[in-house]
Structures are given as structure tokens and as C-alpha cells.
């Protein structure tokens, strides 16, 4: 109980401070009311970043879902033979982004390995490749962990259910649809939330590879945050963060309801 309050305090206090800052000038001088919010919404950079981030999230998460679920089903079916696969796919998550940066550069540079194989001199960080490359990085990192989570869910399904279904004459696909997926429902929310959190973490790769002003397609909200922070536009930053918080809160709420999560 105490720990709950402790946690809450440490987290809520900065949040409230941030909200407060959104109503004042950057150095805390004058009260400016909703001016910061108005500026944020009118700001074209914000609009671009928000659109990009939304697009990225809406593409990545379902993609990750499908791919990792597919892999999980395959691994589940292959059982013991796929031990090494689990480990292998898990490795990318364990490596800090900074460690990988040199390797990414070698792979994607203008005269890098990939260009060497394809023979073309594609600029992988410019449109139209930047976005897919970023999505690829995200998938690479997160497949393994999601795989484990799905597997956890799959292992949790009692064999009895499958047997019952087979007796009823259901084929593989129907079993998948009506037994597997619904049984995995508790997992879905967790995985969705985690995938969402991790999708925001992809900024580190985007920054390390694309610099401060990457291609317009992968200019994310975090780029904007760090630029606003660098120019001390903290009021804009906090206002935008508050807006984002509300939007996310609503979105997650919707997700809950859709999945009919127990409250």
C-alpha cells in the first residue's frame, strides 16, 4: 500500500509539474493560459510529427501482432525443435541501441553492405525507404519478446479445449479462430500495451541513424520534443505532452473496452 503511494507520488508529481508548466512561460514567469495549447495545435511541425507517429504506431503494432503471432503458432507447433529460434529472436531486444549503431551504419550506409549486395546506391534514410527501414528495426527488436508472450499464452490453453474442438469436427483454421484466439485474449492487451511502449522507444534508432532532422516520413514526436527542449520551449513541450496523454488515455480506454477487459 505504501509502495503504491510512493510510486504514485514519484510519478504524479512530475506530471503535475509538467501540466502546470504548460500554462506558463518557459522560465515560469507569466501565466499564459491556453496560449501554449493553441500554438501547439497550429504548429506544422507538431502536426507532421503527430501524423507520423500515429501512422507508425498504427502500422507497426498490427504488423508486429500478426508476425509474432504467426511465429508463435509455428514455434508452438514445432515444439522442442524450435528452442534455438526463441533464443535467437530474443537477442535483438537485449542489445542496447548504442551498441548496434555501428553495425546499422555498416549495413545501411551509401556504400554499405546492403547496397553492396543489391548493387544500387539507395539512400536508406530518405523517402521512400526510411519508413520501412524504421518499421523493420522495430520488428527486429520486438519479435522475440512478443513471441515469448504469445507462447506463454498458448501454453496456457488447456489441451482439453482443443480436444473437445477436434471431436466436434473443427478444422485447423476454425480451431485457430474460435479456440486459440479467444483464449489469448488476456494476453492481447498486455502485448498491445507493451508494443505501444516499445514503438515509442524506436526513437533512439531513428535519431542515431537519421540525425536531428531525418526524412519527413520518420520525423516523430520525440524529435520534436528534443528540439523544443533544446530551444527551451518547455511550455509547448508540456502542452503537447498533456494533449498526447489525453489522446493516449482515451485510446487505451477504447482498447480496453473493445477487448472487454475486466476492470
Amino acid at each position: 500500500m505504501t509502495s503504491l503511494t510512493g510510486t504514485a507520488l514519484f510519478i504524479l508529481f512530475p506530471l503535475l509539474d509538467a501540466v502546470k508548466r504548460s500554462f506558463f512561460t518557459a522560465m515560469g514567469g507569466r501565466f499564459t493560459g491556453l496560449r501554449a495549447y493553441a500554438e501547439v495545435f497550429a504548429n506544422k511541425a507538431f502536426q507532421l510529427a503527430a501524423a507520423n507517429t500515429a501512422r507508425f504506431t498504427l502500422v507497426c503494432i498490427p504488423l508486429l501482432f500478426v508476425v509474432s503471432l504467426g511465429l508463435a503458432l509455428a514455434v508452438f507447433a514445432a515444439a522442442d525443435k524450435a528452442e534455438i529460434v526463441k533464443t535467437g529472436l530474443l537477442i535483438p531486444m537485449a542489445i542496447p541501441a548504442a551498441s548496434m549503431i555501428a553495425v546499422w551504419r555498416l549495413l545501411f550506409a551509401d556504400s554499405g553492405i546492403i547496397n553492396g549486395i543489391t548493387g544500387a546506391a539507395t539512400d536508406w534514410f530518405a523517402a521512400p525507404y526510411a519508413f520501412p527501414v524504421l518499421v523493420g528495426t522495430y520488428l527486429w527488436k520486438n519479435l522475440g519478446y512478443n513471441l515469448l508472450l504469445w507462447l506463454a499464452g498458448l501454453y496456457g490453453i488447456p489441451a482439453a479445449r482443443f480436444e473437445a474442438a477436434m471431436i466436434d469436427g473443427a478444422n485447423g483454421f476454425q480451431r485457430l479462430l474460435f479456440i486459440t484466439l479467444p483464449s489469448l485474449r488476456p494476453q492481447i492487451f498486455t502485448i498491445a500495451a507493451l508494443s505501444l511502449v516499445n514503438s515509442f522507444k524506436v526513437f533512439r534508432e531513428a535519431y542515431l541513424l537519421g540525425g536531428n532532422y531525418p526524412d519527413d516520413n520518420i520525423y516523430l514526436l520525440q524529435h520534436l520534443w528534443s528540439h523544443w527542449f533544446a530551444s527551451l520551449d518547455i511550455d509547448l513541450l508540456c502542452a503537447a505532452a498533456a494533449v498526447l496523454a489525453i489522446a493516449l488515455f482515451a485510446a487505451i480506454g477504447v482498447l480496453r473496452v473493445t477487448l472487454r477487459e475486466a476492470t
Binding site: 509502495s3 503504491l4 529460434v85 542489445i95 553495425v103 555498416l106 556504400s111 487505451i252
Partner: protein, 273 residues
């Protein structure tokens, strides 16, 4: 037969996933001479298999760069206590959260998730103020303390505890166990996968944290290894890769170490029905 096909396919998928790591390993075994050749070529060749594999870059990092170890040790000093703290503080909180059946519980959880997604810059300033008042700036506690109260760990553990069925708890209560006892003997063992996940992921996060140490730690003697940024020229590429490999080693090993326990825990929980 079907399983064979599937596992082969899976194996194939593994290759591009592991490839970057192998490049890292190979790169750290390549000497400066070869690096010069590689980088000077028009196109970098696909497999960086060194013609003359050498442990020299690794040795250079291990032997000739004392600050590497110093920073490595600092990272350990930060990450382990932070993770321990996260579990100690977060587990009870997560337990409470998962057991409570009040109306807004879902909202609270959503709040946690939202908080995880907010820009860190926002919380850094007030964090700095708080830590400064506690006179903790320029000590390792400045990084450890905020880490202990991370919402990420709490979220993971809550999820882990949420799956435990009510009946078991009821049974324990009937047997006369108090709230704390229930937590320790029923909640923790069954929620172990969640706790372990939180621990492992929390470690990774603290191991690769950059902004917080940079802002809160002023003396270079306190810096963790995540702030070690090698510059990549032909001469320093080998050691740079070796350093990157060494930096990646602990989280990697932890993941591998914990993976099986994790799975076993999950399987055990699955058999509960």
C-alpha cells in the same frame, strides 16, 4: 515432418535476425589494418569475416582502457540496485493494484501506460529539482532512485499478477493466511514470470540509459558505460565494436539466463487450471 519444415523455416527467419549481432562479433575481431581496407573500399563487403581474426581490439579495450572498466562498474552499481529496488517497491504495489477491485482500476492502469509514453524531458526538470533538494545530484542515487519508481516495472508485474486465479487466494485466506503471507507464498511464486520480466527488462533499460546519467551525474568518475561513445575510425573500429559487444554482454546474458526460467514459470502458471 511438418514440424521439420516449420523449424527449418523458422531457422531461416532467424538468420537475418541474428546477422547484425554476428557482424558485431566479427567486427570486434578485426584488426585495424583490415578495417582500413574495409572502410576504404567502394562498398563494404557483405560478410565481415576477418581474414586475420585477432583478439587485439578486445585486449585493447580490456587492458588499455581503464576508464572502460570504471564505467562498466558504475553501470553495475546503478543497474543492479535499481532493479532490486524496482522489484522490492514495485511488486507489492503491483500486487495491490492487481488484487484491488475498485472501479477505476482500469483507468489507473491506463494512466500508468500513458505515463510511460510521455517525453522524459518533461519529468527530467522536476526530477532535477527534487534530486537537487535532496542533495543527490552527482551521486549514483540520482539515477537509481527515480528508476525504482518506474511505472514500466509496475505495469509488467501487475499484468503478471492479474492472471492468478481468485480461488487460490481464497483458499489461502481460508487457511488463515494474512495479506502479506498470501502475497509472499501465493502471489510471488505464481507471478514470478511477471516479476522476472520486469527485472530483466528493467535491467536493460537502466543499462542503456543515457539522458539521466548525463544530466544528473556531473563527475566523469561516476559515468556509466552507456555514456562511453567510441569514435569510429579505421584504427578505433575494432575496439569500438569490441566495446559495443562488451556493453551488450550483460543484458544479453541476463536475457538468456532468465529465458528458460521465464518459460518454465509461464508453463507452470499455465498448468494451474
Amino acid at each position: 515432418m511438418k514440424t521439420k519444415i516449420i523449424s527449418t523455416l523458422l531457422g531461416l527467419i532467424c538468420v537475418p535476425v541474428i546477422l547484425p549481432l554476428t557482424l558485431l562479433v566479427l567486427g570486434s575481431m578485426t584488426g585495424a589494418e583490415e578495417w582500413r581496407g574495409i572502410l576504404a573500399a567502394d562498398v563494404i563487403r557483405p560478410i565481415l569475416l576477418p581474414t586475420y581474426p585477432t583478439l587485439a581490439p578486445l585486449v585493447e579495450i580490456l587492458m588499455d582502457t581503464p576508464e572502460f572498466f570504471h564505467m562498466f562498474w558504475n553501470s553495475c552499481r546503478i543497474a543492479f540496485p535499481a532493479v532490486a529496488g524496482q522489484i522490492l517497491v514495485g511488486a507489492p504495489a503491483a500486487w495491490a493494484l492487481s488484487r484491488m477491485r475498485f472501479a477505476g482500476r482500469g483507468a489507473v492502469e491506463s494512466l500508468y501506460i500513458t505515463l510511460m509514453l510521455l517525453p522524459f524531458q518533461v519529468t527530467m526538470v522536476s526530477g532535477y529539482l527534487m534530486l537537487d533538494r535532496l542533495a543527490l545530484i552527482d551521486t549514483h542515487w540520482a539515477v537509481i532512485l527515480p528508476g525504482i519508481f518506474s511505472p514500466f516495472a509496475v505495469f509488467l508485474m501487475t499484468r503478471g499478477f492479474a492472471g492468478i486465479s481468485e480461488e487460490l487466494i481464497e483458499a489461502a485466506r481460508i487457511d488463515g493466511a494474512g495479506a502479506v503471507r498470501i502475497f509472499i507464498s501465493v502471489g510471488l511464486p505464481l507471478g514470478l514470470p511477471g516479476v522476472l520480466s520486469a527485472a530483466v527488462l528493467g535491467f536493460l533499460e537502466h543499462w542503456s540509459m543515457i539522458e539521466q546519467p548525463m544530466t544528473f551525474l556531473k563527475s566523469p568518475g561516476l559515468w556509466p558505460i552507456s555514456l562511453f561513445t567510441p569514435i569510429f575510425t579505421a584504427e578505433s573500429a575494432g575496439p569500438g565494436f569490441a566495446a559495443a559487444l562488451l556493453i551488450a554482454a550483460p543484458p544479453l546474458l541476463l536475457f538468456l539466463y532468465g529465458q528458460h526460467d521465464l518459460e518454465r514459470g509461464i508453463a507452470a502458471a499455465g498448468l494451474k487450471e
